[in-house]
């Protein structure tokens, strides 16, 4: 008769009873529960302030980061942006968290003014002041180069070449390309900022304050 070996347990299962986390405000919790699509899972799922369970926000953050990287890759590979844009991003930190969007918004504001000036100059039937146009163009070229808008800057170079030869038709077609490139860049950068904003929100709610 062999002794039945007592299996030594691999671990001691002695769980403490789960402490019920007191919500800050019963009324608020009731409100949240009304709109919480996961309420059928019971109160064990910790909810972020937005009402989404935290594990889902983790996935959203990953997706957003992938979206952002894909967009940036596209912009760099197409030569729309160059390393100066990276320099701007490097200058952004906790002490200056909105640096890139601040500078880019100034760029949009200034560029639209300059493009309008260029168009009104060129559309003027009696246009002859290539010098004046050159001043606007140089300003636009300089600021585009400062934010890393490589493709726009290159179109400005072609524009300047046409202007140096007093080639009005050439200037007009360069201006059309410029307007198109500018619109495209503006849309893409807005998209980029939207993604970054969503990332900030997602990161913010991932670590809610403990009760």
């Amino acid at each position: 008769m062999s002794k039945v070996k007592q299996q030594k347990p691999l671990c001691v299962w002695n769980p403490k009873p789960l402490k019920r986390v007191k919500p800050t405000n019963k009324k608020r919790l009731r409100e949240r529960e009304k709109t919480n699509p996961f309420s059928f899972l019971g109160q064990l799922i910790p909810l972020a302030k937005t009402g989404l369970p935290l594990w889902m926000l983790g996935l959203a953050a990953d997706r957003l980061r992938a979206d952002m990287n894909r967009l940036l890759s596209f912009l760099f590979h197409q030569g729309i942006l160059d390393e100066q844009f990276l320099q701007l991003q490097q200058l952004q930190d906790e002490t200056s968290p909105n640096f890139v969007s601040e500078v880019v918004n100034i760029y949009f504001h200034e560029s639209e003014k300059l493009l309008r000036n260029l168009r009104s100059l060129l559309m003027d039937r009696e246009f002859s002041d290539y010098n004046k146009m050159g001043i606007h163009l140089n300003q636009f070229m300089g600021s585009s180069s400062s934010i890393g808008a490589k493709r726009i800057r290159n179109v400005c170079l072609a524009f300047r070449a046409a202007s140096d030869q007093n080639n009005r038709a050439g200037c007009l077609s360069a201006l059309e390309v410029l307007e198109h490139e500018y619109c495209f860049l503006k849309n893409k950068l807005h998209e980029l900022f939207q993604i970054q904003q969503q990332r900030v929100l997602a990161a913010g709610v991932r670590y809610p304050m403990q009760h």
Binding site: Q84, Q87, L88, Q90, L91, D93, T95, S96, F99, E102, V103, I106, Y107, E110, N138, Q139, M141, G142, S143, S145, S146, I147, G148
Partner: protein, 189 residues
């Protein structure tokens, strides 16, 4: 120890007529822990320095407002000037000349920035006293080149102060011309 400058940060005066470039240079300099004053024209820069184009001696004798950055005796001094070349009115080159002609500010290092790569322009600025010439867009690696020029200013200041105080004792004076530190006239071999 008492020779250390009273200001803990270097103060850089930046001049550029483009708002974007001003924001950029300001951020670049602040990231490198410099205190920055950014203005949009050469005339505003001269105003800040206390040089209003009038006779300079008159300026110094008359009551100087605390708004202007004065020389090393005052708390607020300027350790470096960085300016854009192409500006309406007074160009960066004009500003460089005015600063080098001023007895109180000619020792402040001046750096010129430009989006145009024109060798004759670059050479002319360097010959007339500019320490560096940066091509735009300016990057952090460019701003890192400023530190030796700023440090040189500190040691020159120390030298001048110790000469007037006639300090004795083994004080390390590092002069920009010499490569070895000198201890009280004795050269360390």
């Amino acid at each position: 120890m008492g020779n250390m400058a009273t200001q803990t940060q270097f103060h850089v005066l930046a001049i550029d007529d483009s708002l974007i470039d001003r924001k950029l240079i300001e951020r670049l300099l602040k990231t490198s822990s410099y205190q920055v004053t950014a203005v949009d024209s050469g005339s505003k820069a001269l105003e800040f320095l206390g040089l209003n184009g009038e006779n300079e001696d008159e300026e110094r004798n008359s009551s100087v407002e605390s708004v202007s950055a004065a020389d090393e005796d005052h708390q607020v001094g300027v350790n470096l000037i960085i300016t854009d070349y192409c500006m309406p009115g007074m160009t960066g080159y004009d500003l460089l000349r005015k600063i080098k002609q001023s007895s109180s500010f000619k020792d402040i290092p001046v750096v010129i920035m430009s989006s145009e790569n024109i060798p004759s322009r670059i050479n002319r600025c360097l010959e007339d006293g500019a320490e560096e010439f940066f091509l735009k867009p300016v990057k952090l690696s460019d701003v890192n080149k400023l530190r030796p020029h700023l440090m040189k200013g500190i040691t020159t200041k120390n030298e001048m102060q110790s000469n007037t105080n006639k300090r004795k004792g083994s004080e390390e004076i590092q002069s920009p011309d010499r490569t070895r530190p000198r201890y009280n006239e004795l050269e360390v071999v």
